[in-house]
């Protein structure tokens, strides 16, 4: 049985149009035009137990709305969802005890108190037996290396430290399904890496099903074998990340280092990705890579040139553009 099963899920928001300016603000007090927008548009997918799946898309693609429907926060306009056999928006207590959610841009820990106080309150709310609570807390604290900050007011902690504690809060009750909505947003590279390592090892040990959204491709590359890409509320890709890169590998990147500063035109060779005085990156079609490289070597002052495959970021960006 799948942990997560989604069929034809749709969410239409009715928004009021708000025009800028004083006159429009006053007009808006009496009349506002409404717009219906499908934030999520008939999406379907299944996730097997224990898998980590990346849920990707540009801003406004419908990622967070989908996650919120799967977590039971929002009612859908139509469609069916089963999470561990539960319909999320029925909001049964047993369902809520089996899921966890981390929202990178919001926090549930109380600002003025140490995280331990919040954890204790959550222990009671989730009815976690004391022994299980202690065991799980000790484990999470060790894995995330946060022993020193448990009794410091949350307001005095760094963003990275707070995120680690937010993750603990979401995992205290050992949920079988975890929704991670941009858990590494705003963190420095070291903190991002720590969180990724933690998610990887926790998933390996607990076999928790994880649906992850992130704008950082490093998160996705390290954690998710499978990705679901959404754009304008619709799924545009659902398969392995490696397959996506292979399928979309129609381009190569020429990574050029000039022997002297070069200011001439490069557009004739391909699409310029980056252009500096002593270096440039040009996107060229796969089958044209070798002849164009030869031309560049003959025509420009070259110190070094390298033919590289596009990074996952570029493939995804291309996918968004074409969708």
């Amino acid at each position: 049985m799948n942990s997560i099963s989604v069929q034809d899920l749709t969410k239409v928001f009715v928004r009021q149009k708000k025009l800028p300016g004083l006159v429009n603000s006053i007009k808006g007090l009496f009349y506002r035009e409404t717009i219906r927008k499908a934030a999520v548009d008939h999406i379907s997918f299944d996730i097997e137990p224990g898998h980590i799946v990346g849920f990707l898309g540009p801003n406004g693609a419908g990622k967070t709305t989908t996650l919120k429907m799967l977590a039971g926060i929002l009612y859908p306009t139509s469609g069916k969802v089963s999470i561990l056999g539960f319909t999320p928006w029925e909001r049964k207590e047993e369902f809520k005890k089996n899921i966890g959610m981390v929202m990178g841009q919001k926090q549930q820990l109380v600002w003025d108190l140490p995280a331990m106080d919040s954890f204790e309150l959550f222990r009671e709310i989730y009815e976690i037996p004391t022994a299980n609570y202690k065991k799980q807390l000790d484990r999470l604290v060790t894995l995330l290396d946060v022993e020193d900050i448990l009794n410091i007011q949350v307001r005095q902690l760094s963003l990275g430290q707070r995120m680690k504690l937010e993750i603990i809060a979401a995992l205290l009750h050992r949920p079988s399904v975890l929704f991670l909505d941009e858990p590494t947003i705003g963190l420095d590279i070291v903190a991002q890496k720590n969180i990724r390592d933690f998610i990887k090892s926790y998933n390996a040990e607990e076999k928790t099903t994880i649906l992850l959204t992130s704008h950082y491709m490093q998160d996705v590359k390290e954690l998710c074998e499978r990705i679901i890409v959404v754009n304008h509320g619709q799924i545009v890709y659902d398969d392995k990340l490696s397959k996506l890169i292979a399928d979309h590998l129609q381009f190569k990147i020429l990574d050029i280092v000039f022997s002297e500063p070069y200011k001439g035109a490069l557009e004739k060779y391909g699409q310029i990705i980056e252009c500096l005085d002593l270096s440039a990156k040009i996107l060229v079609k796969c089958d044209e890579a070798v002849p164009i490289t030869t031309r560049i070597l003959n025509e420009l002052p070259i110190e070094d040139i390298n033919i590289a495959e596009p990074e996952a970021e570029e493939v995804i960006r291309e996918l968004f553009k074409n969708a």
Partner: protein, 260 residues
């Protein structure tokens, strides 16, 4: 039920921890509550140097009304109003999401975790003690019991009232103006009911029952009305809570959260 009581006990200790973090603020708040009640008492004392009675209420009646009303508001803030206020403040930021994730009825969660220890400082109690010791009062036992029942029913009515106000957030997102408006309406409960026109007395006793809250306990204690009013108060409290629950249940389906 045991589970709810355990969460409540934890929420109380949580709130005490919060209240005592900022010590100076804690003591200043206590002082403010005491001075606030004292000023109101002095205000009415000044009026009663000019008149003997306002709408049939003498100085002792009004003194008790001011003190009981103060204690009542402390309890309302302490038991749930802080929770509703925080809910309304945070609502537009989408922080309600986390409440919906908790394995507990959201209205119950907001009520329980809204416990605000600092509000229940007991700053009004010295004035109540003064009334009992120095003012000419004699309260029959039955009236004391009935007054306590009506007082508790009043707290339930306020819970229902502010739950309805909070549930408006699901429709209008920013319900702070409505919250402020309800504070203005409930201000009327600290004045003697009989100074208002009959129509307003009926509206604010049975339809928006704010007079039930502080006026009637004092009226029962001072034998201005029958202790049997306690039964009516219980019915009004139950009715209010049922209406609030239905409004909340209907409104929560309208929740659209906030974008990330």
């Amino acid at each position: 039920m045991i589970h709810i009581l355990k969460v409540y006990a934890k929420a109380i200790s949580f709130s005490v921890a919060q209240a005592t973090i900022f010590r100076t603020a804690f003591f200043l708040f206590y002082l403010w509550l005491f001075v606030d009640t004292l000023i109101k008492v002095l205000f009415f004392s000044a009026i009663y140097t000019q008149v003997n009675s306002i709408g049939g209420w003498n100085f002792t009646d009004v003194f008790l009304l001011v003190v009981v009303n103060g204690i009542l508001w402390d309890m309302v803030w302490c038991l749930f109003l802080s929770g509703f206020e925080k809910f309304i403040e945070d609502f537009s930021k989408g922080n309600f999401d986390f409440i919906l994730l908790k394995p507990m009825n959201p209205l119950l969660y907001i009520t329980i975790t809204g416990f605000h220890a600092r509000s229940f400082s007991g700053a009004r109690l010295p004035l109540l003690l003064y009334a009992i010791l120095f003012l000419p009062i004699s309260w029959p036992f039955l009236n004391i019991i009935a007054a306590i029942i009506v007082f508790l029913a009043g707290i339930v009515v306020y819970h229902a009232l502010f739950a309805i106000v909070a549930s408006l957030a699901f429709w209008i997102i920013d319900s702070e103006p409505i919250l402020d408006f309800s504070f203005s309406i409930t201000e009327g409960s600290r004045f003697p009911v009989t100074i208002f026109p009959k129509a307003l007395q009926i509206i604010f006793t049975f339809i928006i029952p704010i007079f039930l809250v502080a006026n009637y306990p004092v009226m029962i204690l001072q034998q201005m009305t029958s202790p049997s009013f306690a039964l009516t108060a219980i019915l009004i409290a139950i009715g209010s809570e049922v209406i609030a629950f239905l409004v909340w249940k209907f409104s929560i389906k309208h929740y659209s959260s906030a974008s990330s």
